[in-house]
Chain length 147, copies 2
DNA sequence: TTGCGTGCAAAGGTTTTGCATGGCA
DNA sequence: TGCCATGCAAAACCTTTGCACGCAA
């Protein structure tokens, strides 16, 4: 298949993504950055390239909330392990890499009982991380009332 | 606080939500339905009322994908702890509503072993559904090659 | 009467699409 | 030379906001 032609814009985008693999990137952020760097890329092209990268599994797409731009993040090829899921905290935005045998059972259960094959590369568990849970707990202890 | 005035539109919306608690409702769906029923409600009002319902905890809001409208679902007050996940097929786009005791174990595991509290109404499993898996299998059998 | 709720239209943002042009193979 | 990729602008969406009017309390 060959992943299409090699172009300057494609390189520029992938480059940025690999150099910012620890962050989540929005199209806006990326576009502005490329403008500042003197290597602007059209918005449509950014969307189209990111879409391809997502299909190739090199980039993961997250949606925290509708009405807000989607977030993208580079995924190193050596981490494309099948049973590798991610937890994303909705409070602080941190991303937890989860390697755990329980998740293998999950995939198998969903497949055998529900006929659905999960794509771990695209699937993200949203919720609240340990640290934020603790913070929330502390805050609510200050103004206790019934539910 | 008193939840504001009681209005016809508010009733209409909450009514629809409670009667469709097993479905994912988008603002568009809701709006069209109300139009057809001869009880149209302005889009802005729908957004404003749903927002209030979310604040009250009677409705949950979640996002399947950016660029697509948010989904809303009524949560019966006595069912607020019920585990409820979604499977979204990346091929045909169908959305599967999953209620399964195994998922309860999942939440408990993630919480006890990883300190992370999953938000089931926000989390979506991406993958391929039964029907599409069958189609793909049929297609690839025609031109077999290694992976 | 008071002030929240509603509807309309406009605005603000994100993402997609059409089409002519440009660049890779 | 064929196509695919790009860029621009327009379009398509989703959601929010401003404002005048209506209606609940």
């Amino acid at each position: 298949m060959g992943n299409g032609y090699k172009t300057k814009q494609k390189d520029t985008i992938l480059n940025y993504m690999t150099e910012h693999k620890d962050f989540h990137v929005t199209v806006n952020t990326l576009s502005d950055y490329l403008d500042e760097q003197g290597t602007p890329v059209g918005t449509a092209t950014i969307y189209r390239q990111l879409e391809k990268l997502v299909e190739q599994g090199l980039v993961r797409k997250y949606t925290v909330d509708s009405g807000t731009g989607a977030c993208f993040q580079y995924v190193p090829p050596d981490k494309k392990c099948h049973e590798h899921y991610h937890l994303k905290c909705e409070k602080c935005g941190c991303l937890i890499h989860l390697e755990c045998s329980f998740m293998k059972e999950l995939s198998e259960h969903i497949f055998s009982d529900h006929g659905f094959e999960i794509d771990p590369l695209r699937t993200v568990f949203y919720g609240v991380c340990r640290d934020c849970l603790r913070n929330i707990k502390n805050e609510t202890e200050e103004n206790i009332k019934d539910e």
